[in-house]
């Protein structure tokens, strides 16, 4: 045995990924409130601080301008018009036009400036979430459906964006505007001011309760739309099965029921909305009737000027939006708080897969399992236990076992897609948990049974694990995997494949996945039943080429078929979560009943035992052939 490989400490990370040290969100305070998560997102506002400040200032200034116009009306009516002062009218009129223009300009500035800040903050959170999610281990992704994560990254973030650019500021500004206008109205003529104040209460109450109802209904509608959507997906994806069994009526029942529920909820929403919108228009008009009546009398009595009355009505109407929006803004804030919670939940997730620091200087690929066990987080029993295996550099081990025996889990342990929960795995004598993940994963490459192809070019898919592969190397990998069909795609290697591109057959996908793994040039190559979808001829060709590749690297081959087992030097039989036998194919055929059961499709318990007893000619003949085949 050569000297143990040296382990060197890895240099500090130089990846282009965001600095992991940068805090994503502000730390959580000791006491948690509803607003906590939202408040913690403030770190994402800092890069655009100046813009958010301008937005706030512009909003306040904008209100000021908008209030000036009714007051100017008052001045015009009570001043120049009643005094027949043409010059005064001109001055005030031009001033009103000026104020009007200024209000529009301020509005423009606010929206223009905040658009970048707003979308910028959103983008920062989004990329941080993405980076975080990519770094979280398989155990996390096993718990979360991609749809849930997607809705956090799209729906929740857009809720936050709307809150940051709109809700946040207007919640403050509207309260401010309502207060200022009320003070103004009370100042202009306090009895009428009180009437307005009294009418605001029902409007505010109405808005609050109705917005709550509407938000609840909207959420319910969203959920029900989701239910309808999953019925749709079921109906479309399962279409061939449905047709094959003629079960359309059966499926349609479910779909019709769900759309019916959605219809009812939508109608509930329509009803709430019809009341809400109507009262929102009616109450201010009723107030206006009262104001007009009392105002007219007050004007007749000389307690109120005509101009003040007109200004009063105008100001009253200018209150409608801020008050009505209050309910909507509070609902929006509520939603933003929930969304922020959901985002913080992801960003706060602790990565249980701790990165190591070591690197193997000259890796040879000596892989050892020492008392390895594994249990899923939520399970009561071990999926794998007590596994001891020693795979020498260059050796290939086949792993066979029945459905659910834990083969795939076993292969996932090697590149640390999941971590052992007992024992340890060493590579060249180093516990793989002490190695830098990136380093470990350059040493170990896996071709998965269900190959994931991404919606990108065939080339990009092939070079997933080695972006700098040369054309010659790519060609070599394609040769090994018999994946020449990629050249026949419409644009050759540049053709987009995957969901959003060309669809490929199962066998084609597996061959690409194999080529991808080979291209990494790992020290340990793991093939998780990679050849299952190939036809016999292609399989034979691939195996022939794989033999050459596996000659130089350590291999773990999960196999169902005898032909695949032939790639290996040694076979381990996995049963009930542990290794029950190891040996060469021939040895195991002789000694392990379990193996024979797995391997010989013809196995007939009675006949086989008879044969073993008698050493009958058929059995001998077959074994002899087996030797020849080796």
């Amino acid at each position: 045995m050569p000297a143990a490989s040296t382990v060197i400490a890895s240099p500090p990370p130089t990846s282009s990924a965001p600095d992991p040290q940068r805090p994503l969100i502000a730390p959580a305070p000791a006491r948690k409130r509803d607003t906590t998560s939202l408040w913690r997102l403030r770190t994402y506002l800092y890069p655009y601080g100046a813009r958010y400040l301008i937005m706030a200032v512009a909003s306040v200034v904008g209100i000021g301008f908008s209030l000036l116009i009714p007051l100017l009306t008052q001045q015009v009516i009570d001043g120049p018009i009643s005094r027949s002062d043409q010059r005064g009218l001109l001055v005030l009129g031009v001033f009103a036009v000026g104020v009007g223009i200024a209000e529009a300009v301020v509005l423009f500035l606010r929206r223009w400036i905040v658009s970048r800040a707003n979308n910028g903050s959103e983008r920062l959170i989004r990329t941080d979430l993405y980076t975080k999610l990519q770094s979280l281990p398989m155990s996390f992704h096993g718990r979360w459906q991609s749809g849930q994560l997607l809705s956090r990254m799209m729906t929740d973030l857009s809720i936050i964006r709307r809150f940051l650019g709109f809700g946040m500021i207007f919640l403050v500004v509207n309260v401010l505007q309502i207060t200022v206008v009320l003070v103004l109205l009370l100042n202009l003529y306090w009895p009428l001011g009180l009437v307005v104040l009294a009418s605001i209460v029902p409007v505010a109450w109405l808005c609050l309760t109705n917005e709550k109802k509407l938000t609840r209904l909207s959420r319910k509608i969203q959920d029900e739309q989701g239910d309808v959507a999953s019925s749709v997906e079921e109906g479309i994806h399962g279409l061939r099965v449905i047709k094959s069994f003629g079960r359309f009526a059966h499926l349609y029942q479910g779909f019709a029921a769900r759309t019916g529920v959605l219809y009812e909820t939508s109608m509930d929403r329509v009803r709430v909305l019809s009341r809400f919108i109507t009262f929102l228009e009616v109450i201010p008009t009723c107030t206006m009737i009262l104001v007009l009546g009392f105002g007219a009398m007050a004007t007749a009595n000389g307690q109120l000027t005509l101009g003040t009355l007109v200004a009063f009505i105008q100001l009253l109407l200018s209150l409608i939006w801020p008050v009505a929006a209050l309910g909507f803004l509070l609902a929006m804030t509520q939603e933003a708080m929930t969304a922020a919670d959901r985002i913080a939940e992801v960003l706060d997730t602790e990565n249980v897969l701790v990165d190591g620091h070591g690197e193997i200087d000259q890796p040879r690929g000596h892989l050892r399992f020492e008392g390895v066990g594994f249990r899923f987080g939520d399970a009561d029993t071990d999926t794998l236990h007590g596994i001891d295996l020693d795979i020498a550099p260059g050796e290939t081990l086949a792993v066979v076992g029945g459905t659910g025996s834990g083969k795939t889990t076993l292969t996932a342990l090697v590149p640390r897609l999941v971590d052992v929960t007992a024992g340890r795995i060493t590579l060249d004598g180093v516990d793989i948990r002490d190695l830098r993940l990136r380093h470990l994963r350059t040493l170990v490459a896996t071709a998965f049974e269900d190959p994931t192809l991404f919606s990108m070019s065939a080339r990009e898919n092939l070079t997933l694990g080695r972006a700098d592969a040369t054309d010659a190397e790519i060609e070599e990998a394609i040769e090994v995997a018999q994946a020449h069909f990629v050249h026949d795609l419409p644009w050759g290697l540049d053709t987009r494949i995957g969901e959003q591109g060309m669809s490929l057959s199962g066998g084609q996908r597996q061959r690409l996945a194999l080529a991808r793994a080979v291209l990494v040039r790992p020290r340990v190559l793991v093939l998780d039943d990679t050849l299952s979808a190939l036809d016999i001829h292609t399989e034979a060709l691939v195996e022939e080429a794989l033999k050459r590749v596996l000659h130089d690297v350590t291999g773990i081959v999960v196999a169902h078929r005898a032909s695949t087992v032939m790639l290996a030097d040694r076979v381990a039989v996995l049963s009930g979560g542990t290794v029950v036998a190891t040996g060469t194919h021939t040895e195991l055929l002789r000694t392990s009943r379990e193996y024979r059961e797995l391997m010989s499709a013809e196995f007939d318990l009675e006949a086989e035992s008879d044969e073993l007893r008698d050493h009958g000619p058929g059995g001998a003949d077959r074994r002899a052939r087996a030797e020849v085949a080796r």
Binding site: R123, Y252, M267, G293, R441, L464
Partner: protein, 632 residues
């Protein structure tokens, strides 16, 4: 089956050239994605006029049952809006008539009358508005419900060839995002827009009646507004499209990364993904910023026009009042009307996008609804109450693409009760034969018949009861394991479901689940192995108890012990019925009564497994030999 690589020559010529002229190593957002055939989004593109016509026809058809309701709604909305426009006019009356009456004659009458009229108007407005929002909401929701159900039914009716071409992704998005786009229009804008338009027209007319000179001055702002709206709608059409595209790209990247996280991590793809995602997120941000800024110009633009108009009304109106040509009340009414006039503009601009995506959704939906199923059930079906399972192919020709026949004229007779295995190379036509038998397609010429009745003459119910096909595509429906087995025969009892599971050997693993047959496959789905799903699919087919059972590669994802289990079960399951088996593994083929070796859609060898194995130089014999060797 033919290799699922399709090529769109048009797209190839267009996009291909563009991509090749670019240097390959320029890794921009598009280069890594690779080139893709531009799938023609709409199936039938006979020109945009036709599309629009098609959508209108659909809309008319959908609205037809609601004609009466719509007429009533029209009356109601006009009334409600008339009432809505009354208050400013009545304010004018109050100021110009009510106050002088109080001052001069101490008469409260005119003021009280005005107030009473206002109250009346408010009541009419409230009642009308409420009725209109509810009524139009109901019609809208009912139309929506009909669209949903009709499209769903239609997709289920369309033949498999259509779905092969159309792809499931597009079908799903027709039924989800497109319908939702229409739903959003129905929900958010429909009644609001009607009110907005009616208000604008009404206000215009009223202002002209109140004081035509000042009215004209106000209406002068209208063309400016229209220009602004036109500019905005044109620009947003482009911008929102790029927002949607950018957001779709972001979504695809997220979904693919998360669903493929195993490959991402195993192949250290994280950094490159981060780069790509940063770029996509940037593009999305920029598209959004552009969209936001269009609004940032449009909204203040409307405000500007509105404010200037108000200023001008103050100036010119004040001047006219000053010269006694107009009253203060009229001036006030104008100021109030202008508010009503400009407010809906924001609504219209917001509605425009919803409207646009809804119409384009409607066009796509009408395109789908226009497709006629190529494999249609018969008008007057020939009854076949109890099929025995005698299948005949009579000079059957078939091809997926014209000029490339897969079956150039197949004659085949499978007597009832026989188990036939189909063997042959890829593309030999095995799966095609199976699909023709299940009537997923109809032959281009010749007939496939069951018990002497051509398949197109059988009702769908009877055909499906008689012929069931199990493929590798072992789709699991929402629900429990038992539900999924019961899919084979919805009225089966629990005992029958269990018996079916036992017959195919699925009970062993089902019993290991804590919830047994009540295990939810969706929650468990990730952990149901391919083999387990396959066994459930088998149990399903067994429960259906068809006269003809077709197994297309149905055992290939099973491991050998499970496969053996299934084979044992098959011996009994197949005994009483006609069966057609397609399998890679000869172990499965060996249980057949008869083997057909196919190539290029023609039968090369036909006989029992034993006969064929002993045929010197035969293809089947060679395959058999290879298989024996592989087992050793």
């Amino acid at each position: 089956m033919s290799a699922p690589v399709q090529q769109d020559p048009r797209g190839a010529a267009r996009t291909g050239r563009a991509s090749r002229s670019e240097p390959r190593d320029a890794v921009d957002v598009e280069a890594w994605r690779g080139v893709r055939a531009e799938g023609a989004e709409d199936i039938d593109q006979t020109g945009s006029v036709f599309l629009r016509h098609r959508s209108w026809a659909l809309l008319r058809d959908l609205v037809r049952p609601h004609h009466r309701a719509l007429w009533i709604l029209l009356v109601v909305v006009v009334l409600a809006n008339g009432a809505r426009l009354a208050p400013p006019y009545l304010v004018q009356q109050g100021i110009d008539v009510g106050i002088p009456a109080l001052v001069d004659d101490d008469a409260v009458g005119p003021l009280v009358t005005t107030m009473a009229l206002m109250l009346g108007a408010v009541l009419v407005q409230a009642a009308g508005n409420m009725a209109f929002i509810r009524g139009s909401g109901r019609v809208g929701q009912q139309v929506l419900l009909e669209i949903r159900r009709r499209t769903y039914r239609h997709f289920q009716k369309l033949d498999v060839a259509f779905h092969d071409r159309y792809t499931s992704g597009r079908a799903v998005s027709r039924l989800t995002s497109d319908v939702d786009a229409i739903a959003e229009m129905v929900q958010s804008g429909f009644s609001g827009l009607t009110t907005a338009v009616l208000t604008m027209v009404g206000v215009g007319v009223l202002m002209l009646t109140l004081d035509w000179q000042l009215g004209l001055v106000c209406l002068a702002s209208f063309p400016v507004l229209m220009l602004l709206v036109r500019w905005f709608s044109r620009r947003t059409a482009v911008t929102y499209r790029s927002v949607r595209e950018a957001s779709a790209a972001v979504i695809v990247q997220i979904v693919e990364t998360m669903t493929g996280i195993r490959a991402v991590q195993a192949y250290r793809r994280e950094d490159r993904n981060n780069d790509i995602f940063a770029r996509l997120a940037d593009r999305y941000r920029e598209a959004n910023v552009t969209a936001f800024r269009l609004v940032a110009i449009f909204m203040p633009g409307v405000k500007l026009v509105g404010n200037i108009t108000i200023g001008v009304v103050l100036l010119y109106g004040g001047w006219r009042v000053l010269h006694g040509e107009m009253t203060v009340g009229v001036l006030t009414a104008f100021l109030l009307y202008l508010r009503l006039f400009f407010e809906p503009m924001q609504e219209i601009s917001q509605f425009y996008n919803t409207f646009q995506s809804a119409t384009s959704a409607l066009e796509k939906l009408s395109g789908v609804l226009e497709e006629k199923p190529k494999v249609a059930p018969p008008q007057r079906p020939t009854p076949l109450p109890k099929a025995s399972g005698h299948i005949r192919f009579d000079r059957v020709e078939f091809g997926y693409v014209a000029d490339r026949p897969v079956l150039p004229g197949l004659d085949l007779d499978i007597p009832a009760g026989q188990t036939v295995a189909l063997v042959g190379t890829t593309g030999a036509g095995k799966t095609t034969i199976a699909k023709l038998m299940a009537r997923f397609y109809d032959p281009t010429s010749g007939t496939v018949s069951l018990d002497g009745v051509p398949l197109p003459e059988l009702s769908d119910d009877e055909l499906r009861r008689a012929v069931v096909m199990v493929t590798q595509e072992n789709f699991m429906f929402d629900g429990t394991v038992a539900d999924n087995i019961r899919f084979g025969r919805p009225d089966a009892t629990d005992e029958e479901v269990r018996a079916a599971a036992q017959a195919v050997g699925a009970d062993t693993f089902i019993d290991t689940f804590p919830d047994g047959y009540d295990t939810d496959v969706a929650k468990r789905g990730g952990r149901l192995s391919a083999g387990q799903r396959q066994l459930i699919a088998f149990a399903r087919a067994f429960l259906a108890d068809p006269a003809v059972l077709i197994l297309d590669e149905a055992t290939s994802s099973l491991d050998i012990p499970s496969e053996r289990l299934v084979q044992q079960a098959l011996q009994t399951i197949l005994a009483s019925r006609t069966a057609v088996i397609i399998a890679h593994r000869l172990s499965t083929v060996e249980i057949a009564d008869r083997v057909l070796v196919l190539e290029h859609g023609q039968v090369l060898e036909d006989g029992s497994p034993a006969e064929l194995t002993s045929t010197q130089g035969g293809r089947y014999a060679a395959l058999h030999e290879a298989w024996i060797e592989s087992l050793a």
